[in-house]
């Protein structure tokens, strides 16, 4: 209805002025945000457009009615030079597009332009339980829409000042939409306890015969001077006429002059100097909406300030947690370093001990080994002297070559023994690799067999062939074998039946290597303390051999055990896991 009125008006104006003026006149576009509901009757702009056309004949004025939902986009596109809207819309556009008011609506015989809009909060006549806003708690509230300025928002601001939030404290908060009669009907018919509407609507509807005035009673109502209707809230400025930031000041000045000079038109509408819109700002700020929406975010800060002691507790807890975390981190790193250092230290100590044990074992075998080396050396001397004599005599010269060959062979034999000894006692970190256990057994025997025979000990070797491969450190396994063999030889060398047997078999997927002797067996104490470090039955022993053998075998994932055999003698066995290939 109202849109049609305006459209007709524009068409009439266009028809009236269109043919008279040529198109080359610059066009001034005035945007009008479509008023709501019954405002349309009051806020009509035909006279204004007419006045501007007359006062500024060198311009062609055009009025565009902007839809509620679309005006922001049109303003952003620069679609208008001036804009007319309600105070709330103006406040928002001021913030968003930098529009500035150049005039404010004034009604002849009406309220002051700075105090024209207020809200009425009302209930059904006869209800005495809601004399003031303080009684609103728990009541059912009804209004047209949450974004209306004169109406819900102005009332909301008053509620907020009294600590009442209609969205949380009311029994219900319902928005019924236009037309405004629905609000009054809801209250009158008891579907709601309290209604909110723009001031003067009730009076206007009563005058139009669409409501009965005595059906309703205002809450905290009063009738300000010049307004002639009841309101429950303070009053706010009327609609402004604003220029956009891009509109030239000179044009704005001429338009302002024309507006101020305009006589009161239909409905008594005229323009006066722009009033202060700070009270509108105050409403938005208090409700933290529109341009002041950001205040809602600040409210977290305010909340924090109001509850500073809790904040302090939380901050302290957080700080304590952080400090604890940092401390834990630091301690973990520190302890890890210490642990690593300790591990390293332990490993070094272990390596030192292993080295000492190997040296000790070599010491125990030293005289045998010395003999082993002296044998080839003595043979070399004999061969060399034999060669010399043949050379000196000048006969049997053909035999010299054979002698020389033997010298080389014997020197190599001695060198191998020396190299093996050196390998054995050299300090080195263990380096496990896939090794053939059969080869290790044979090499160890090659080395040890003459030493055993030298002491009159018979050494048997029995093993299942082929033996599997194991993941092991060759020298360490040799060390274990040599220790076990030397112990066995020591056990039998002063007995009649001097036999040592080395055997290797695979039992249940595990390699078992055993060294058994025909000695007198171990005493009860020796059995119990067999693998104890520094326990020894040998005068020259360190007591480290078997203790280290056990740790070596266990480091390889095996077990080392020792027992007396029922038929006499001792058996020491170790197991090694077979490498998965």
């Amino acid at each position: 209805m109202r849109n049609l009125t305006i459209m007709l008006l524009i068409l009439c104006l266009g028809a009236a002025v269109g043919p008279g003026w040529a198109d080359e006149r610059p066009t001034v576009r005035i945007g009008v945000i479509a008023p709501r509901d019954i405002d349309g009757a009051e806020y009509s702009w035909g006279a204004t457009l007419h006045q501007l056309s007359i006062s500024l004949p060198d311009y062609r004025f055009e009025m565009r009615v902007l839809d509620q939902g679309a005006y922001r986009r049109i303003l952003a596109d620069g679609g208008v030079d001036f804009i007319i809207g309600n105070p709330a819309q103006y406040i928002e556009l001021e913030a968003e597009f930098g529009v500035s008011r150049i005039a404010t609506v004034e009604f002849a015989g009406g309220p002051a332009p700075s105090s024209a809009i207020g809200s009425l909060v009302f209930t059904r006549a006869g209800r005495a339980d809601i004399p003031s806003f303080a009684n609103l708690r728990g009541k059912r509230l009804v209004a047209i829409a949450p974004d209306l300025f004169g109406g819900f928002r102005v009332a909301w601001k008053e509620f907020a000042e009294q600590g009442f939030d209609p969205f949380t404290d009311a029994g219900s908060m319902e928005f019924v939409g236009e037309p405004v009669e629905k609000v009054f009907a809801a209250v009158r018919d008891g579907r709601a306890d309290v209604g909110i509407a723009r001031g003067c609507y009730l009076e206007r509807l009563v005058a139009a015969g669409r409501l009965r005035g005595d059906d309703f009673v205002a809450i905290e109502g009063r009738t300000p001077e010049r307004l002639r209707c009841q309101v429950s809230t303070p009053l706010y400025p009327d609609w402004p006429f604003a220029k956009l930031a891009s509109t030239p000041d000179s044009l704005a000045k001429r338009v302002a002059q024309a507006l101020l000079a305009m006589p009161a038109g239909e409905n008594g509408l005229s323009w006066t100097v722009p009033v202060d819109y700070q009270p509108v700002h105050a409403v938005f700020r208090a409700l933290k909406i529109g341009p002041y929406e950001y205040l809602r975010q600040r409210s977290i800060y305010q909340l924090a300030r109001e509850n500073w002691h809790w904040v302090a507790v939380v901050v302290l807890c957080l700080a304590w947690t952080l400090i604890s975390l940092a401390r834990v981190q630091y301690l973990v790193r520190l302890r890890t370093q210490q642990l690593n250092a300790a591990h390293l230290q332990t490993r070094r100590e272990r390596e030192k001990m292993e080295h000492a044990a190997r040296l000790s074992l070599m010491g125990e075998m030293a005289s045998s080994i010395a003999h082993e080396i002296s044998q080839p050396l003595a043979a070399i001397v004999n061969y060399a002297r034999g060669c010399q004599r043949r050379l000196a005599d000048g006969h049997k010269l053909a035999e010299i070559e054979g002698g020389m060959t033997q010298i080389v062979a014997q020197a190599e034999r001695a060198a191998i023994i020396v190299r093996r000894m050196r390998d054995f006692v050299r300090k080195r970190p263990p380096s496990p690799s896939l090794v053939n256990i059969g080869e290790i057994l044979e090499e160890t025997l090659d080395f040890f067999l003459p030493l055993a025979e030298r002491q009159g000990v018979t050494l048997d070797y029995a093993c299942e062939m082929p033996l599997p491969r194991v993941n092991a450190d060759r020298i360490q396994i040799e060390e274990v074998l040599l220790n076990l063999l030397q112990n066995a030889v020591d056990a039998v060398k002063d007995t009649d039946e001097r036999q040592v047997r080395l055997s290797a078999t695979v039992v249940d997927g595990v390699l078992m290597v055993s060294v058994r002797d025909t000695g007198p067996g171990m005493s009860q104490e020796t059995c119990e303390r067999l693998f104890e470090a520094f326990y020894t039955t040998k005068p020259e022993g360190l007591g480290l051999g078997l203790s280290l053998c056990r740790s070596i075998v266990e480091a390889h994932g095996g077990r080392l055990t020792g027992e007396n055999l029922p038929e006499g003698g001792t058996m020491l066995s170790f197991s090694l896991p077979i490498a998965q290939e």
Binding site: S367, H371, S374, Q375, P376, L377, A378, A379, I380, V381, N382, Y383, R385, G386, R389, R390, D393, K396, E399, G402, G403, Q406, A409, Q410, R413, E453, R454, G456
Partner: protein, 207 residues
């Protein structure tokens, strides 16, 4: 059959290199040299009727050098023994030498010393062998005598005149002369002086 008096050197050592090198060294100076890997093998296979020398390692698995020395001593060997040791064991050396070993040498052996000792041992062995042979010969001749002739022989060697012998044996001088003649014949000597020399050289003067 004329007995073989050429000397032989036996080498007994369990270490093949040592053994072979000793054979190489000793054989180089012209000795006949036979090697054995153990004392047992030597006792089983070594001819011990010839003069010679045994070079043996003191320590061996099984029978040791000293054990072998004892066994040979029991046999009444004429072989000279040279011990070689890698151990320099003094009490062992003393015992070995007391039991007749020529020398006790430490490895590595000085070749000249070894060969000298072998030479000494061979010489002694040859002498001992010859002495033994002569003694056996004399003993054999003496065994041909009758008891009465043997009694006369003892007194003749003791340097008694026929008259004293006759008086001592309570027989006539004539009978003594007959016995004396038979003794000279059977002992293959021409005079009492020769007979006395024969006994002193091989039986230490005691018939």
């Amino acid at each position: 059959m004329e007995p073989d008096l050429s000397p032989v050197v036996f080498v007994v050592d369990d270490d093949p290199a040592m053994r072979d090198s000793l054979v190489f060294l000793i054989g180089g100076v012209g000795h006949e040299c036979v090697a054995f890997p153990s004392a047992e093998a030597f006792l089983a296979g070594g001819r011990r009727d010839r003069p010679g020398c045994l070079v043996v390692d003191v320590r061996m698995p099984g029978m040791s050098g000293l054990d072998l020395q004892q066994a040979l001593k029991a046999e009444g060997t004429t072989l000279g023994i040279v011990f070689i040791t890698g151990h320099g064991d003094v009490p062992m050396a003393v015992r070995a030498i007391r039991d007749g070993a020529v020398e006790f040498l430490e490895k590595p052996v000085n070749d000249q010393m070894l060969l000298d000792r072998i030479g000494d041992a061979i010489r002694k062995s040859i002498a001992a062998t010859q002495l033994r042979r002569r003694r056996a010969e004399v003993e054999a001749r003496r065994n041909r005598l009758t008891p009465r002739e043997r009694a006369v022989l003892d007194l003749v060697v003791a340097g008694k005149p026929n008259k004293s012998i006759a008086a001592e044996l309570d027989i006539s001088v004539k009978t003594v002369e007959v016995h004396r003649h038979n003794v000279m014949e059977k002992m293959e000597v021409r005079s009492a002086v020769e007979l006395a020399r024969l006994f002193s050289s091989c039986l230490g003067g005691n018939p």
